[in-house]
Symmetry: C2
Subunit: 348 residues, 2 copies
């Protein structure tokens, strides 16, 4: 089992990635994971020494001349930076030299490079970024899919995302028969935009646990295991939620430092803040899988900690072991929503 | 100045609406507002007596046989319930018997009834629901437009929403030259979906303070005064944010009641929670205006308090006084994005 790790990807790369790899290689229960560490070897040398990382049967070093910076445009970067660390990583999977990729770098570039190099799994039209989101109220966390890989989607894309979300909810949340909702502007069947109205028809006929439309109110406080939407909406929900969470932390700080009483209260309840913070802390899930490809690709958050990167590598390992790409493909055929099946759906 | 008030609209109607009207009529500085209270007169009789509301030069009672329930579908309800309170309200404006409408009832029904009865202002294609949202970090609150009136939009719709958002930011937030951003999946000009890419081109050429694309991260913690998007995205951002805020309150409660220390801390900092709550409290703004119509329509939140409804009536009054519908129309022509101008834009 070989996982290609993008050493250059992420806000604190390469340091944080090198630390993660170093820690993982020392763990007893991860002996069957081999790492292909991909980056500019000269730039990595300081960290290779610092973390005592030597090439070994469990660690191979692969040179990549460039890196896609956060300020780069994804598609342009993939075209112009052919030797970037993420492109080299995806290429290793395409060539069969690695089983999966982990990167905490530029999401758009990871999507573009993985799609171009690995190509779509059989029957899949577009890859889907799936991510675990928090929830209050006892129904456990939920999966958002697509969280941002596809700004423009067809109804069939959404139908396929339902499958990928279903499979991810099984793997990440342990749900046996995940409920799947279509994100819309109202709970009734007829509500939505042109895209969701068409997608609703297809989803209704699939042998999945489809619960119909859900709306914004049903996300962080709802019941549904998987929420399906196009990548524009998903990216907006994800990022505006992160923005609101950040704003709330700031409001809390302001409110709890206004006078001595409140400061004392904050001190007494210090652990409550730590507990609150954990709800937004997803290093356990180790990033978001880009699903629907001929291979495994796990994309970490830009500000990933070593723990988050280690968990991303573990998730990649799990996906390879459980043959997730193959499962997506066969489930899509099972549900009759494989590439090209749209015409059949329209006339049945 | 006559404002038609939907007595039956809202989760706590008619009681809360009647209380609001009663209080408003007693206020010295609102002597120039006349109220047309619209609802089922028999059902209102208890409250008319309770709040000592008698027909007077400042209060006219108008009977409406039915009410659109929250569970009704908006368009179907408007067709089948021709004598619903919201339809009667909108009709009063259309007939020139009232200058504006206030309703805290079914948003979809209010949009449908107002659009059908009042019709679009000259040059406007679709109405836009504009709403004030909170923000941390010192840049003040921001306007989201469209917050949910149009699930499917054209690029020209978004261009017109920019004008309506601009005007609302001036009225509600007191901005002199509001910055306007296009909600997208990345800050760079070329990022977005097909809709926003086309809208970007039109917005760039308009004589407005357009700052380009903004993304989810730029909402609750950003700098932009007005954020433009289609109503599907706007509704989703609005409702998922409300859901996250609700979840956060629940997490806070759980975290601060875990043990005696934390409970004591919470008690000491009691006012901090009250302060925090205020960030999500928009009764000051009195609801969201549905802009772009031949007349004023202010839609209150379903759970509006008497204070929120009084403020919605004040906002309606302000909109009529400032000739907001006429301003939207003339500014749209000024910016060259009036109905039918699309072809010209495409070829210039």
């Amino acid at each position: 089992m070989k996982i290609a790790v993008d050493a250059m990807g992420g806000d604190y790369a390469p340091g944080v990635v090198m630390q993660a790899v170093s820690e993982l290689l020392q763990e007893k229960d991860q002996q069957n994971i081999q790492i292909l560490l991909v980056g500019h070897l000269e730039k990595l040398s300081y960290y290779l020494e610092k973390y005592n990382l030597q090439p070994s049967p469990r660690l191979e070093l692969v040179h990549a001349e460039t890196v896609v910076e956060m300020s780069d445009l994804s598609t342009a970067a993939i075209r112009s930076k052919k030797n970037s660390s993420i492109t080299v990583c995806a290429g290793l999977v395409a060539e069969g030299r690695a089983d999966g990729v982990v990167s905490a770098g530029h999401t758009g570039a990871a999507v573009a490079a993985s799609t171009v190099k690995m190509r779509m799994a059989k029957g899949v039209d577009r890859p889907c970024l799936a991510t675990v989101m928090p929830r209050a109220g006892g129904y456990g966390n939920w999966v958002l899919a697509d969280a941002g890989a596809n700004p423009d989607c067809s109804p069939m894309n959404l139908a396929q995302f339902a499958i990928m979300g279903e499979i991810y909810a099984k793997v990440a949340l342990g749900r046996t028969n995940p409920t799947i909702g279509l994100l819309s502007v109202g709970g009734e069947d007829c509500k939505g935009n042109d895209l969701t109205k068409e997608a609703f028809k297809i989803l209704s006929r699939m042998p999945i646990n489809f619960v119909g439309n859900v709306e914004g109110h049903d996300t962080f406080t709802g019941e549904c295991d998987v929420v399906i939407c196009d990548g524009f909406v998903g990216n907006t929900v994800l990022k505006s939620s992160e923005s609101l969470a950040k704003a709330t932390v700031q409001w809390l700080k302001e409110a709890f430092t206004r006078n001595a009483f409140r400061k004392a209260g904050a001190l007494l309840a210090k652990e409550a803040f730590a507990e609150l913070k954990k709800h937004g802390d997803f290093e356990e899930y180790g990033g978001a899988p880009l699903m629907g490809l001929n291979g495994v690709c796990i994309i970490g958050h830009g500000v990933s900690t070593p723990k988050a990167i280690k968990n991303a590598i573990r998730v990649a390992h799990q996906f390879v072991e459980q043959k997730t790409p193959e499962n997506v493909s066969s489930r899509i055929f099972e549900c009759g929503v494989e590439k090209g099946a749209f015409a059949a759906h329209m006339h049945s």
